[in-house]
Symmetry: C3
Subunit: 154 residues, 3 copies
Amino acid sequence: MTLLNMENPVFVVYVIAAAIMVLKIMLQGWMTVFRMLKSNSGLVSPEDLQKGLINKDPRPEQLEVNDYVDRSRRMHRNDLENIPGFLTAGLLFVVVDPALWLAQVLMYGFVAVRGSHFIAYATRQSHEIRATFYTIGSLIVIYMAAHVLWQALQ
Amino acid sequence: MTLLNMENPVFVVYVIAAAIMVLKIMLQGWMTVFRMLKSNSGLVSPEDLQKGLINKDPRPEQLEVNDYVDRSRRMHRNDLENIPGFLTAGLLFVVVDPALWLAQVLMYGFVAVRGSHFIAYATRQSHEIRATFYTIGSLIVIYMAAHVLWQALQ
Amino acid sequence: MTLLNMENPVFVVYVIAAAIMVLKIMLQGWMTVFRMLKSNSGLVSPEDLQKGLINKDPRPEQLEVNDYVDRSRRMHRNDLENIPGFLTAGLLFVVVDPALWLAQVLMYGFVAVRGSHFIAYATRQSHEIRATFYTIGSLIVIYMAAHVLWQALQ
């Protein structure tokens, strides 16, 4: 018997949460592109100073770090530090067959706090607010991984 | 019934594409190692300035950023921003049972554009060329995740 | 027939190794938080210089790079370059139905060398020692991905 199919409601919860988090990662890349184009700065490769469609008026200072663009890259890095762990821990969590309500609370909860973390970071909220959302998301992944490990070692 | 087995031709397409992309990520690490050793620079930790097999003639400027080595690290970061999203979205895509031709176009297409992105970045092609391959790859992952989400919410 | 269930001993090996590696990634984030709070430095966002619970005595130099904190971030980046590849390659490896002993050697071996890499990096061991553990871990993932690709292409 396998639990990894769409007839298992817990797996459907995972599929929904995981698809949203993949979209989150990919769209963060587009936020960086948007901010790079809008501010006409925050480039990272020397060859990007060539004149072209993307860069009509090249200037050397376009390679300097710019908080407006770098903020989106930091948000992306924070995603990469948290979301791939969720994607794997969530899949393993389905396999140990948890209660549906628990999967819903943890997985939709993760989606909600990462969305809140995004808003807090983008709008430059205080470190305390950002840290709160980070903490809840991180604890959810840690709980799922520990629960899975416990079950697998029985 | 599960779709995650080697009798499902769509899953085999995913397994081939995913295995190639994992190799791509891992080999990018070796490109950084090769460039670090070849240029004898681009180190990142203070203790790497100790004399040893890897570093026979330590100099403080080996810790400075060097585009030759840093380019490979940027390529790696770009991989990490795109490939884990593909690995998860692709697995979920198999689970919603798409047409084989569609899976082939999207997954082998992703492998092809990431290979092209690698060549464009390594050979310092213009921002426009690199951005084109990035865009196609990103849209493939976004399409797969959105398709999965749509199916799961039915 | 699926191999992705807890009755398959090879899958159980993967679940244990993968859960431990997810915990490793997440706890690396907490090591950064701990070092940031302990040294009261290594912040990355301008708004973190606001006075608050986390930062009781803000100073502009808190935004400068600090090796104590940055070391944990570099360890995290090294994890992100290696562990997501393992998580996917390991899952695919289960699907091609390898011998149990081989899965145990490769997967528990990966966990052991990444643990060793963590200790070597945290305690500032020489580049050679760190590189040895990195190399073994990377070769394990490369072997698993190549083995999977070979089987899938038969």
